[in-house]
Amino acid sequence: MFTRFLFLFSLSGLLFSQSINGFVREESSGEPISYANIFLENTSLGAATNRDGYFVISDIPLGSYTLNASMIGYGIFKKEITINDSGSIRLTIFLDQEVIETSEIIVTAERQKFERSIESSQISLDLREINSAPAFIEPDVFRTLQMLPGVQTSSDFSSALYVRGSTPDQNLIMLDGITVYNPYHLGGIFSTFNTDAIKEADFHAGGFPARYGGRMGAILNIINREGNVNRIKGMSNISLISSKLLLEGPMPIYKGMRGSWMISGRRTYFDRVIDALKIPIGKKADGSNEYFQFPYYFYDYQIKANLDINEDHRLTYTRFYGDDILNWSFDEKENYNDTDVNVSREFKFGIDWPWGNKTNGLTWRWIVSPTIISKTFVSNSYYRFNFNFSFDQEDIFTYSDSSATRVQNIDYSIFDKINDNTLETEIIWKANNMHEITGGFQLKNVGYDLGIDIEFETQDTLLNWVPLDLKNKTREVSLFLQDKLNYSDKVKLQIGLRATDYNLHDKIYFDPRIGMKYHYNSDIAFKINWGVYHQFLTTANNQDENLRLVELWLGIPEDKDASISQHLIGGTEYMSPQNIFYRLEVYKKTFDNLLTVKQENPNTFEESNSTDTTLNEFWDTKGNSWGIELLLKKSSGKLNGWLGYTFSEANYYNEPSGWHHPNFDRTHTLNLILNYDLTDDIQTNFGLTMSSGNPYTKILGRVYDWRQNLDSETYWYPVDSYIIGEKNTERYDKYFRIDVGMTRKKGKIFGFNYDTYWQIMNLTKHLNVLSYAYRTKTDPFTGNRVGVERRAVPMFPLIITFGIKFDF
């Protein structure tokens, strides 16, 4: 009886209502437009486009309507539509970029997100916002995110994201949905993402829904451009550190299939410039000149190709490849005579250190029906870090009647490799205006290989020693289901559950996620989110390090539980009629089963076997964090930007340190980003950051610490050691930095358009303390220690950078 009722109900719906669905794209390039507003005039029916530019308005009663599509920065689209019983209507709407004064209200993306989003702590940054924030040498999406409330940085030298008490390894960083394990260049100073190729960056600081899993901190999904569907275009950019090129264009039409492609690449050029300058530094053994070679460079390139097989099926291929390479070698030859022998020696010393990521992904999007979209995604993400040190020496001894060769070769390498193969499917079903149900599964196979390999070779001996050999294969199989429920006009709910089976543990991990939004009126809303988050991998990095060159990833071992975090977030949002977005959020997070790598103990004689080193020995760690965040964001107009303030506290606990603030914890943080269009072709930007100093451990006094000598003699000797206080109970001086910049657009040279830009970082040359250097004061006459002095090690000084960008 009930089943018949449902059937009749749905059938009656079909008979008396239909749906409109389709895509909204940019007229000139064909790029999908996210969060465009689609509505039927004089009704309450409407929708916003998703990240793919897709929208669906369902349950439309039969009749005639005027459909509107609008987005800030584009002209308004209107079309007369008639809904009858012949079926749903599929549209592709193109919006033209224009800045026209109009009396009609154009809804911004912010308004769309405000009205429709239930998740807390979510920010989407488009390319304009990423490029407009003050940049260190060139725009960087991570450095822009660091200016948002709730996101902190450990120092100016790091673009890593510390989000609400979570360390960078707790964040899931994706490029077009593919996990990127080491998203940094130059030891963390830059992110590995070329902003010229970015369409938008979707960032969740916490409380993210059930479709995301495997991490406890934040989610960042960077979406690359799709490519221009109409014509081939390009741009190039030369900054102080790198040169970039981007090309995009349509695919040739084949049997009705259309598509687009985008290729972008970037490379530092300093090494090439130095090579070309041929700076002599001496002579080689053969008498030729030896020139200085700059040993480091990085590069990355990205490819994205979309193919619309028909209006319902699309294939997208994404590839990213980025590497940092440090390569330096030195060789020398010499000949000399000793008593009765001539010695010929060749000596080589080298460091070869590549580290980087390689990702490939293929997505199949299928619009099953106007209300059902399916995405199946298969990807591979490979990260490797491979430090090699080699020392080779060959001596040839020539006697009057014989000769002998002595060889000594040492090769030392430390490496970390991750191979991640993922298959996932997501199905979004907009059942009706009340329910949007999303479900899916993910199969993630990750292989870890972390090791140290030492080889020693002589003319008659070959020794190989592997002091560290950690191989791990993990598998996460996850299922998730969530329902976005429009309970009433004022109340929206999002309830989800994610379940994960981790192959090294004998249990299923459940992650419930609940969110609720209450619209007090059309401009004010209240939100609350709660969720449980598990993580199945960690890093073997020292969490105290101020400068992190690479991440050393490990899967959670069998004998340790998966790391877990709970997020509770509450907040209120206000969208003013002038489209200024205000948000006040309070959050509380707990962490457990974290793993902090044990630092090397220089004094221990503990017996060790060949597979144990401090890299895989951990302290069990737990923690908590809480904070209050305020955000004011204006996305449109001549003056735009945001103001963010955070009050936060993070606490971690492990056995040696007890409860302590982690190194990145800053109590107060104020960020102000302003962009102002001075004229049509001159844009200025201004950035201000003020925050509490990072914590550090104070030195209190001195004490004798003892060392032993137990061989043929027995004695002990004192070592004058510094007594340190409780960990991280002191703070460096306050952090303060002002950045300014200007972009001059619409230049023309040889038929090419160009923009020039310059930036000044740390305009006031404020001394921001990275760390302290210490020195002992000694009495010049007696050599006694008479005191300790310290001097600040600064972060960025004043830096002026500039660059030029071409379009063609």
Binding site: R702, Y704, Y722, I723, V786, I800
Partner: protein, 362 residues
Amino acid sequence: MTFKNKYQPSLLLFLLLIFSCIGIEREWEEIESNYDHVLNVFGILNLDPGFTSFIGLYRTTDLNEVSQRFSRVDTLFYCNCEAEEEDERCWCEGDDEGYWEVDSIYEPAAIIKDASVFVTDDNGVGFEFTFVENIEMIDTIMFDTTLFIDGYNIDFDTTIFDTNNFRLNFYIDTTGNFRPQEGQNYTLSITAPNFDPVTGFLTTPFKPQLNSVSQRGSLTDTIFVDEPFDISYDYEPRGKALVTSEVMLGDWWNYNSNTDWCGGYFDPFIVDLNDGMQNNTSIYPWLCFSDSEEVIVKDYVLRLTAFDDNYYEYFIVGEPGEYSNALLNSPTTKGRSIGIDGGFGVFGAIASDWKFLKIIKN
């Protein structure tokens, strides 16, 4: 002219001129410390005959305190410039008749000399330890005090070993009645003016027995470099021990012999004395790569040192390096108390056995 043509170049030039000095100035500043000082105890009970048990007592110091203070002058000897016997003469200049050779003695500023120190055994018998300055040596084992240079026999003064750096002033039992026994409990109590009292406790280890050395399948007292060898030791009810070695290079002025030597070295390692299944172990010394074909024989000492739990915790396990700062060029500690209550330091005990061998390199 538009804004961009008229003002932009000027603005850029102005900014470049204003900010032409890019560096940030930094000054060294003295750190003050405000720290409530506590006693720092270094106490070792040595079960080996002829070795002195001692308690060293210090305090923590402020950062701006001197590390060493002048204590006194130590008269070493009189140099008689007019001595008739050639071998009694010493270095003189001009018309010097003679002079006293003296040494300025410094002591740690942190040293505490006026404390009351007692060590009590299981039977409640207390032994008072008295402060004695300038203990000449802790150990004389294997230290040949006779040198022979250019036909002259020289007595090597082992007090030279006791330099300002190693001049350790200790509390010791001056009566000779204190003889620590194996497997016994001992309690330490210290009271010093202006400091909270400190106590300590330990249980002494059992004396280890390093029984034999074998190589190439048979017992030996001479081992060959570059080949592994086995040692065997007695089972003890509990405890761990450290195996160490030393090649006695001895005649250090014999340049060729010592520079050509290699072999016999290995990283010290711990053995479990109460592992009944295994009371022998194989040692794999570092390989020796030498061009010389000369056969050289040296004295070789193997040592097995057992310790109590406190000594093991302090010296073997060590302190977790939970604080590191690459720019701090001295070690750091939060202040360790191992076997000590009420202050820093360690109260531990050791007992050793030795094997004196020869080692051959060819």
